[in-house]
């Protein structure tokens, strides 16, 4: 299949996840909504169901969700609830609600109340101390709860064998995405910022095995191409989410390519694989424990500013000239961490800009000016 056909397919899925959801339902599949962050989608796959990521919307306006949410909830969480309330997600068979940040914790209860008659809501609380044995056991216990609830919805028991197979599928998908990120930088003349985002975003909506196969095919096509003789600039993106095509088009218009990312919806979600051997539940718990350099997770060595140094090194290793931070409005973890990230970037001599964004932005004039000026500075 040609590069163009594959890219168009990812674009269609990325732009119309609701169509994809309807298609799965027409095919008789059960679909589980998965809110951010670090939900064990392997359990959904092992139960023979389709995981469907819910990362808000770039097209909707918050209306119904206002009844449940304080104004300082991030738009990702509010628009997720909006889509549950306005019928967009009516075809889901259940939803997993992780509770890693201060917004998602109460949001899990808002969703439970709002969807009480409509949708099974599976509560998931990750431990703060994820690395010690007791933390790993806590994660296993939580995942066991998720597993039981998914089994009720699917009507089938999740065997260890099925879970190991699901881990293999997800590892394959993660490996393909990691490879794609590198190839996208090498071939940034073909994989523009808008196209790159569409591919990575599609991973949240497509069946993981199908996605992995198609992305491997795209990667193979890209690997055949000569490395781009790029005359523009290269940057690293950072933040929770950066998937608005109108915003990303500004990068393309200004000849700015994305060399790598530190975005929660993108690379931060596929940095770590799970072991394909041993107890699969413990493998998933260990995978969560192995997550590192992550704003949303506890770091006992945070006083060493390891994450800031990691991101600064990522910029240097990727060959980028600077970093663009997309600061999600009302994202406390990102805002609290920013001074430390800035310190590390400044010390490493990495230029950066911080752009305030939310999913209800429709006018990107100010972002356009800042991004263009940043390119001119670089």
């Amino acid at each position: 299949m040609s590069t163009e056909i594959l890219l168009n397919e990812f674009k269609e899925v990325s732009e119309h996840p609701y169509k994809v959801l309807s298609q799965y339902k027409q095919e008789g599949k059960k679909v589980i909504g998965v809110l951010p962050y670090f939900a064990p989608v392997e359990l959904v796959v092992a139960a023979g169901m389709v995981p469907m990521g819910i990362w808000g919307s770039n097209n909707k306006t918050i209306a119904l969700a206002k009844e449940y949410c304080a104004t300082f909830y991030c738009t990702i969480a509010q628009l997720a609830l909006e889509m549950l309330l306005d019928g967009t997600m009516d075809q889901l068979d259940g939803i997993i609600t992780p509770t890693i940040c201060d917004t998602l914790r109460p949001m899990s209860q808002n969703i439970r109340v709002a969807m009480s008659e409509k949708l099974p809501c599976i509560f998931l609380a990750h431990p703060q101390y994820r690395k010690p044995a007791f933390g790993l056991q806590f994660t296993v216990d939580q995942y066991t709860h998720v597993k039981k609830e998914l089994e009720k919805i699917s009507g089938t028991a999740i065997t260890d064998e099925a879970l190991r197979e699901a881990i293999k599928v997800m590892n394959r998908s993660r490996a393909a995405r990691r490879a794609f990120v590198k190839l996208a930088s090498d071939h940034c003349d073909v994989i523009t910022a808008v196209k790159r985002s569409a591919v990575l975003r599609a991973a949240w909506f497509m069946e993981p095995a199908v996605f992995a196969e198609k992305l491997e095919a795209l990667n193979a096509e890209l690997a055949q191409l000569p490395v781009a003789d790029w005359k523009g600039k290269k940057i690293v993106t950072s933040g929770i989410i950066c998937d608005n095509p109108k915003l990303l088009q500004i990068f393309d218009d200004n000849q700015i390519a994305i060399a790598a990312d530190d975005v929660a919806q993108e690379s931060r979600s596929f940095r770590v694989d799970a072991s394909e051997e041993g107890d699969p539940m413990m493998a998933l718990a260990q995978q969560f424990a192995d997550q590192d350099y992550e704003i949303l997770l506890y770091d006992e060595h945070s006083n060493q500013n390891r994450r800031g140094e990691f991101v600064a090194n990522l910029v240097k290793k990727s060959g980028a000239q600077g970093l663009v931070l997309f600061m999600q409005q009302f994202c406390d973890p990102e805002e609290m961490e920013y001074p430390y990230l800035k310190k590390a970037l400044d010390e490493a001599g990495v230029p950066h800009i911080k752009l305030g964004v939310d999913q209800q932005m429709r006018d990107f004039g100010q972002a356009n000016t800042a991004i263009q000026a940043f390119a001119e500075v670089l």
């Binding site: 230029p351 932005m361 004039g365 100010q366 356009n368 000016t369 000026a373 001119e376 500075v377």
Partner: protein
């Protein structure tokens, strides 16, 4: 024969043009007090050409900047961000400049400059606080002209604290002060310091280094300039061409690009 270049700065509230001869002499300039999406840009262009008795064809290179820079594809040979153009214009007017503070109609920018080149910058978030729009709103509530704010603020005998950062809440504070018969001049003084505090906070993010130059329409308000000097502890330099600074920078870049393309 001279080389003429035109810089056009289409802001959110005003359209400005500067025509240069040989990249150093201002031949003509124009300012229309409406900006992007209005008749302002075309009127400003027509006026600057008319004043110089020239036509578009006489321009060797035209460069657009400002919020509406992308809407001038028919006339402009190139477009650049207003940040770069403000840095360029300020460096032309004040060769030793290291910090430029530009307060425009809807945003605030602080630029760090080394050897005439912008090396870092910071912009305000999606918020009218500290911008020209903030002053417009306050002037309307106070029933005074925005251009008179500086003169009225200078008559203040004591400063009233306007503590809210948010324009809407600050407007409520002003209304509350008016209801208490507080002297308008004192309120205006407080408003100027409110703007200055907000802008100073932004400026400290990139660092403030002499020589500090303020550009944009708000630089004509001596009250804000004075309050900002207090907040920053640095002397702030302004120019009579402050409102034209972006357009001037655009005309300078236009000249540079013309020379480069001739090689």
């Amino acid at each position: 024969m001279s080389i003429y270049t035109l810089g056009i700065d289409i802001g959110s509230t005003a359209s400005k043009c500067v025509m240069l001869a040989d990249g150093k002499e201002i031949v003509s300039k124009s300012l229309i007090s409406v900006g992007a999406g209005t008749s302002g840009p075309q009127r400003a262009i027509a006026e600057v050409l008319e004043k110089a008795n020239m036509s578009k064809e006489d321009m060797a290179y035209v460069l657009a900047t400002g919020y509406g820079r992308n809407s001038l594809e028919e006339i402009a040979d190139h477009q650049m961000s207003e940040l770069s153009c403000h840095a360029k214009g300020a460096s032309f007017l004040f060769p030793d400049v290291h910090t430029v503070i530009d307060i425009g109609g809807q945003d605030v920018k602080v630029l760090q400059i080394e050897n005439g080149v912008m090396t870092n910058f910071v912009m305000n978030d999606k918020c009218a606080a500290g911008t020209g729009r903030f002053l417009d709103v306050m002037a309307r509530v106070l029933e005074v002209k925005v251009d008179d704010l500086g003169m009225l603020g200078a008559k203040s005998t004591k400063r009233v604290a306007i503590s809210s950062t948010c324009t809407v809440f600050a407007e409520s504070e002003v209304i509350s002060q008016l209801a208490q018969d507080t002297d308008k001049c004192d309120i205006i003084n407080g408003i100027h310091h409110s703007v200055a505090a907000r802008v100073a906070g932004l400026a400290h993010r990139v660092g403030v280094k002499d020589l500090v130059v303020m550009t944009g329409g708000v630089a004509q308000n001596a009250g804000v300039v004075g309050a900002l000097q207090e907040e920053l502890g640095h002397t702030i330099h302004t120019s009579p061409l402050t409102q034209y600074n972006g357009a001037l920078g655009a005309a300078l870049f236009a000249y540079q690009r013309y020379l480069k393309e001739q090689k």
